[in-house]
Symmetry: C2
Subunit: 399 residues, 2 copies
């Protein structure tokens, strides 16, 4: 098979992560050494830059610059929330044709996989040969097929550390503390708070995820039960927590909420849900003294230095392999991770290509083996998550 | 002078920090080797434990346990918000007398210095010889006399890193982002966000502290001016930000606010202020697209691993020197830090004792040389803060 010759374009899309530039570096390094790839164009702000022809040439980038970028949080090329339709993609293809772009790498979540799928289908239809590879990235860890998603391990590490610190804070000044964590549809990130628990009386004492709805009555009762047992209660709640009628609790608390460009309710970047939950507890249990709610917000996805080494390495790997699969094996698809072994020091993975269709617009929720009851995350989740998050500090205590 | 013989008590008070247990370890280690000190009693939950006689014996603690505790965030002995009056202190003295406690070490902020002052005056009045030392601790950095406060450097490091990440996040998905940072009366912690700015277009583009009031009109205009220049705007705001009429902006936004036991408005542990500021900007500039507000909340004071090495060392030092000053030199007072030199690699400090009265219930605000205009922190602050916070990562960028 003759290798496809032409230029490459790389885009980054959706919410940034602390390791998303590792994937960029992986693609650039692996593409640079392949003779069939000419220019390596970084599109500014994802598909938006492809549409408008805003590119940064990366084929001659200095290695130390690329390394500095790789270690810097958030999309170095800029990102976008644009979700292109076929018409939008048709225009992008024109720009690709004009710039002889034959390799398209898109780093992002399931929306980005959809974009890649539309563009790939369209290029086939019009007979423009284009290698299309989606490179997985999301702190939400909710992509289908892959065992886990680059970006998740580091954000999960942030959440685990944050809850570890918050549990100690709450232990020193007892009360009820509600922490709202990102995760609109899936509770993977919130579940990671479970890693913070080192002793039986440690928080988070309760963990609520979107997969298992909870009524306000039960929520308040759960909190009060723990408060009576330990004299305090730390609660981790997904921003996507739902009532038993299926409605978002955030929607019920929405006085100040806005809707984003896609008609989604804005869940992050507002403290409304946490304040609402605190107010509900205060209403039903007015004698509980210290009641506080924090919303972790954007800190959890881009905090410099709070990085899982495994996550950083894997983010690089999926980028590198995207370029290898596309250029050497002529494959389109989404790079996925398969876990080969787990447990003490035996954690090992390999990458493979899955179809764009199998990832596009799909969401992978927490399975029942990890969570089947409101307020609890099961032990099995810990085995899954520990290698991704990396070693956590052991807390010292006097009582 | 004959050395005072007896037992020692240590308490921790107020909001915890990530290095407060270093001070505890410093006191314990230095006390253990002094023959005139018998038992070393850790009081559970500060003065509350002293009142109720709830002590943990620390004189025989294993060194590796103490080291693990020293490296763990948040008050290992538990904390309290109690602010004892003379009657409360009289009862504590009875407990001291019963337990032959002759050394009283209290790790905390200016409220703790007040407690130490009251207890010290009372013990003199009733002729009970008691060495009383206040050991400084506060992320707010607002204690009088001392150059800076243990606990500040690490919290300031958290804030600087958080803003560094948030600036990159905002650069990738441009919009207006408001970050609310702890600091009721003084803007030291919020000012530390200035350290995040590495390039002229980096955020935080605007920084508001309690010392320099700002009208909503000017706030909105400032944000809009930056947004027009850079297409985005990252704002760091103290929770104690005030209107030009002297009123807290948080008070104006207070629908969900509660008052704590001392009649203070609760500023942390609620997203109300951030949501209010976002709503104000939306009201006046409805065409600005991505508008978000995050409240850093309790994360900034107890995050495991985000520690300034200098801060950790100094927290240990003030603890150790408290024990040395009290037991060897027979001194009462508050341990303070004097900066002997600064600048590239020349940063050096020494500790000294200042009177309890000079620290009790006083607040040190940001001086005009660091901030004299709403929205700006001056260069001079960076020289002050850099050695306390430690080296920060350098961000890589492609544009």
């Amino acid at each position: 098979m003759a290798k496809l010759r032409g230029n490459a374009v790389i885009g980054q899309s959706g919410g940034p992560t602390v390791v998303i530039n590792q994937s960029l570096a992986g693609i650039v390094r692996a593409s640079k050494v392949r003779g069939q790839i000419g220019k390596i164009l970084g599109a500014k702000n994802g598909v938006r830059g492809m549409l408008e022809g805003k590119f940064i040439e990366l084929q001659d980038i200095f290695d130390n610059t690329l390394e500095a970028v790789a270690q810097t949080p958030s999309s170095a090329l800029g990102s976008t929330r644009d979700k292109p339709d076929e018409e939008y993609c048709r225009k992008i293809l024109e720009v690709f044709r004009k710039n002889d772009i034959r390799y398209f790498f898109y780093i992002g979540g399931n929306d980005s996989a959809s974009t890649a799928y539309i563009l790939n289908s369209l290029s086939s239809k019009v007979g423009y040969e284009l290698r299309t590879v989606h490179v997985p990235k999301t702190i939400d860890n909710d992509l289908a097929v892959t065992d886990h998603c680059p970006g998740y391990g580091s954000a999960a590490r942030f959440v685990a550390l944050a809850l570890m610190g918050d549990n100690l804070d709450n232990k020193s000044l007892p009360g009820v503390k509600i922490d709202v964590i990102m995760g609109r549809h899936a509770g993977w990130l919130t579940a990671a708070s479970r890693l913070a628990r080192q002793e039986p009386d440690d928080g988070p004492h309760l963990i609520y995820v979107p997969e298992v709805p909870v009524s306000m009555q039960q929520f308040v009762n759960d909190v009060f039960r723990v408060y009576q047992e330990f004299g305090r209660c730390v609660v981790a709640v997904s921003e996507g927590i739902r009532d038993t009628d299926g409605e978002l609790w955030a929607k019920k608390a929405q006085a100040l909420l806005e809707q984003d460009a896609h008609g989604n309710v804005t869940l992050s970047g507002t403290g409304v849900l946490a304040d609402f939950l605190v107010a509900e507890i205060r209403k039903h249990k007015p004698h509980i003294k210290r009641l506080r709610g924090d919303t972790f917000g954007y800190l959890q996805r881009c905090f410099p230095g709070v990085v899982s080494e495994t996550d950083a390495q894997e983010a690089y790997l999926v980028g590198r392999d995207a370029a290898v699969f596309a250029s050497e094996r002529g494959k389109d698809g989404s790079v996925a991770i398969k876990r080969l072994s787990n447990g003490d020091g035996t954690y090992k993975i390999e990458t493979f290509m899955t179809s764009l269709e199998s990832v596009a617009a799909k969401t992978k929720e927490l399975p029942q083996e990890f969570c089947d009851k409101a307020g609890e995350i099961k032990e099995a989740f810990l085995d899954y998550a520990r290698p991704l998050v990396g070693k956590l500090p052991k807390c010292g205590r006097l009582f």
